[in-house]
Amino acid sequence: MSNAGITVATADPPAPAARHLPRRRGVELALIVLAVLLSVYGYCAVGLAQHGTLPPGAAGYGAGLGVLALLAHLAVRLRAPYADPLPLPIGVLLNGVGLVLIYRLDLETPGDRAAPAQLIWSTLGVALFILVVLLLRDHRVLQRYAYVCVVAALALLTLPILFPAVNGARIWIRIAGFSIQPGEFAKVLLAVFFAAYLAANRSALAYTGRRVWKLQLPTGRVLGPIVAVWLVSVCVLVLERDLGTSLLFFGLFVVLLYVATGRTGWIAVGLLLAALGAVAVGRLEPHVHSRIETWRHPFSSIEAGEGANQLAQSLFAFAEGGVLGTGLGLGHSVLIGFAVKSDFILATAGEELGFAGLSAIFLLYGLLVERGFRAGLALREPFGRLLAVGLASLVSLQVFVIAGGVTGLIPLTGMAMPFLAQGGSSVVTNWAIVALLVRVSDSARRQHDGQDAR
């Protein structure tokens, strides 16, 4: 980008010069059919493994998922015909696999059925996807609502403080039997705000202000608001003991700041702050301290004669999976106990689908993220680029934080595996992310002139 990015919106490029890319809607449809078939196959495999018969709802389940996916596909065909054909099928497949895994775990916990609610939330999520694709004709409109977004995000983040804590964390609100995690919705809103603000102020951030040693400090007037927003959100989350999400916001902030300004120094400062913050929280907060201890010595509770803790059980589940897995419905990940359908859902995938299946799931996420970055590269206006990169990074960081946590790579922080985990807010939010990626990619490919923007 050579033009100074202080203007709010860049003008559309002259349309006639653009060479339209193939629309690829047929590919999308084929992939959606494949995704639905794979999910139905998984559903049947669970039933066969557990009872020796096809589960009674297999046809209904397949039809329901198929209709939802088809409606979403029609919406894309109608209003985003140039969109990238991959994000929607990936979303359908991950959501379908998530439903299969939750249904499978429901069989082990007859008193606590989560799959029906998850199906309703998935429907809501797809409905939101369709709404976004139909109503949001141009993603740049969002730029106007940057400050609305940030106010809404902070409101959503602070809301759960008014509600009683659930399992030690104040991140849920319970309305009419449904528990909602407003922090999930705040993710997208904050991503929009960061993208909009940085797109508008990136030159000021990059080129003004004092220079201290090798570091170019921007003026406080420009940096102030965004740092304030970030600090408030992180503080709120620390108060609510939702460290995973605060880590996610921090990562999002640093990535977008780096992409917008191109200043490596910010990365250094960010990492330094993160390290200081992590050490301080780890020392001061007993909850976090115990998480770190568990991460360093996952089997200490066994040696202490207290049996395996959740992380150890999770590692046992992954280990049992080996390369090819035990097969759907044949594992014992239910031994993990609490949060087996949400934070630890990946352990079930790892045990029953093995390293092969787990890698496939990781690669699906990787592909989704990659499509986001592609859209970001193909676009030419900074807001769209930052939005695409921000959303893709959100997915990437969230997958890393929770998957790394349950496999013992990093300390465990409770967070939902996108699309797979039980949790309505998360599913709806992820469908919103996919919808925005579809929208952004449609703009990118519609304007494509044969080469990436510089």
């Binding site: 066994i302 992954f318 690669l363 680029r385």
Partner: protein
């Protein structure tokens, strides 16, 4: 900006690579260690996920599996638990396995590699193998006779088929019901606490895991050694032995419980169980030959498995002459399991040949095809066949005229030897009563059964303990074997 987007993308790719590498590390590299972790319940869950194979006696399963629908799904059940507990042992989800349940666990639980229906494919598909069955050599009628005979007593019995070494009955009293131990609940731990605290130690298999001083029954071994070594050539010639006999190198005088033992012939001495004669015979034979004969019978052999391990019966080899004299009448450091003494009787019955006893006829796959069969076992000549013939005559005399009259069976030739073994500090304990015998139907070509019984709580006074107490139990078991028309086919 494009460059920085690429950098950020590269960073995300790095995160993905880290996840994949770590997953490979956990799922492939470290998996064996995690699977072996004692807190990992998956091996237990897999073990109890399917019914355990059964143990068969006389063609019928004496064990079963109950589907509890719990996490550890199948629990062991026992039909007639106390009757077969000294053979089956228990298979508990809390306390492991013992005896046959332990020795044949690989077959019963389905981990034996030969149980794979399609070897390579089964490993690949991770399908658990179904457990196989264990067919025992037991004769149910003989086992029941032993159970009835030892009811309310403390002791043990072992019965063998002399020509093969098949174990026909193996019982230890008091017995117990292994079924309450099967599960993993408080009932199991209560049963365990009760059984382990019981002073009578019902879970101890006295027939194979406990050794006793064999007392006079050991005189069979001494007589065999004397005959083989040529110390005695004529059964009816006087043996030139004083009564009482002063142990060599000491002033201790050994006496008899019956009269007329001075210079008694071997036949008389055997029939009336003269200690003086046999103590002197042992000394005359010498430590070397006594040891050789005792070893040939199976003493001092610690490696016997039937297939569960048998305690080692001992004949002390570092002896002075006084000790040798005492050892030769089954006292001092001589100790034997009931199974060992049954082997002695079986050797006499089978022309001097000792065969390794065994309890498992064959193991089968779930379909019934044979997985492994007990092949013919090597026989060891413990004494010359002529000595065996003469010993058979001596043992028959003891039953016809001597201490073992209560073991006689109409329509059968029965040979036997009683024994009383003193034990405890200063011989203060209730003496152990022994009876060792074999039986052959009048119309049969060879003896069908050899039995050894020991009672820890012999009732009558010292003089006539053994014949009066242990012999009827042996008789009942021998009768049961002789009466059972059909022998379990040996395949």
């Amino acid at each position: 900006m494009t460059r920085h987007i690429r950098h950020a993308g590269f960073f995300c790719a790095l995160l993905l690579a880290a996840l994949l590498l770590n997953a490979a590390l956990v799922q492939v590299v470290r998996a064996p260690a995690y699977e072996g972790n004692p807190a990992n319940r998956r091996p237990d869950i897999a073990r109890y996920a399917q019914p355990r194979g059964d143990i068969l006696v006389g063609g019928r399963a004496v064990t079963g599996s109950e589907d509890t629908r719990e996490h550890l799904r199948y629990e062991r059940t026992y039909a007639n638990g106390p009757l077969y507990a000294p053979v089956t042992g228990f298979a508990s989800q809390l306390y492991g396995t013992t005896l046959l349940e332990d020795a044949e666990d690989a077959v019963l639980s389905g981990t034996h590699p030969m149980l794979a229906p399609f070897p390579l494919w089964s490993d690949f598909a991770r399908a658990p193998y179904r457990g196989g069955d264990v067919v025992t050599t037991l004769d149910p009628a003989a086992q029941r006779a032993a159970y009835r005979g030892l009811a309310g007593r403390k002791g043990a019995l072992a019965a063998l088929e002399p020509s093969t070494g098949r174990i026909l009955a193996l019982f230890s009293a008091p017995s117990y019901d292994p079924q309450p131990l099967s599960g993993n609940g408080t009932a199991a731990s209560r049963a365990w606490a009760r059984l382990t605290a019981d002073p009578d130690r019902p879970m101890l298999n006295r027939a194979v895991r406990q050794t006793y001083p064999p007392g006079s029954t050991f005189k069979i071994v001494t007589a065999a050694a004397a005959l083989d070594a040529g110390v005695v050539r004529n059964l009816d010639a006087p043996t030139d032995s004083p009564d009482p006999y002063t142990l060599p190198g000491t002033r201790t005088r050994l006496v008899n419980e019956s009269k007329g033992c001075a210079d008694a012939s071997l036949r008389e001495a055997f029939t009336f169980s003269c200690n003086t004669v046999f103590a002197k015979l042992g000394v005359d034979v010498g430590a070397r030959d006594m040891t050789r004969t005792a070893r040939a019978f199976g003493f001092d052999n610690g490696g016997t498995h039937i297939p569960f391990p048998v305690a080692r019966s001992t004949f002390d080899t570092s002896l002075d002459l006084a000790q040798l004299a005492l050892s030769s009448i089954g006292q001092y450091n001589t100790r034997a399991t009931p199974l060992q003494m049954a082997m002695v009787a079986a050797a006499v019955a089978d022309g001097g040949q000792v065969r390794e006893p065994y309890l498992v006829e064959r193991t089968t796959r779930p379909g019934g095809s044979t997985l492994a069969a007990a092949g013919s076992r090597p026989a060891r000549q413990a004494m010359s066949p002529s000595t065996a013939v003469r010993l058979r005559a001596l043992m028959r005399d003891a039953v016809r005229n001597g201490t073992g009259r209560k073991a006689a069976i109409r329509g059968a030739k029965v040979g036997g030897k009683t024994g009383t073994a003193q034990h405890g500090l200063g011989n203060s304990g209730t003496p152990y009563a022994w009876f060792v015998s074999w039986a052959q139907g009048d119309h049969e070509p060879a003896p069908r059964v050899a039995v050894a019984v020991v009672l820890e709580d012999a009732r009558s006074d010292r003089g006539h303990i053994s014949g009066g107490d242990a012999a009827p139990i042996a008789r009942a078991v021998m009768k049961a074997v002789l009466n059972s028309r059909e022998r379990t086919p040996s395949q």
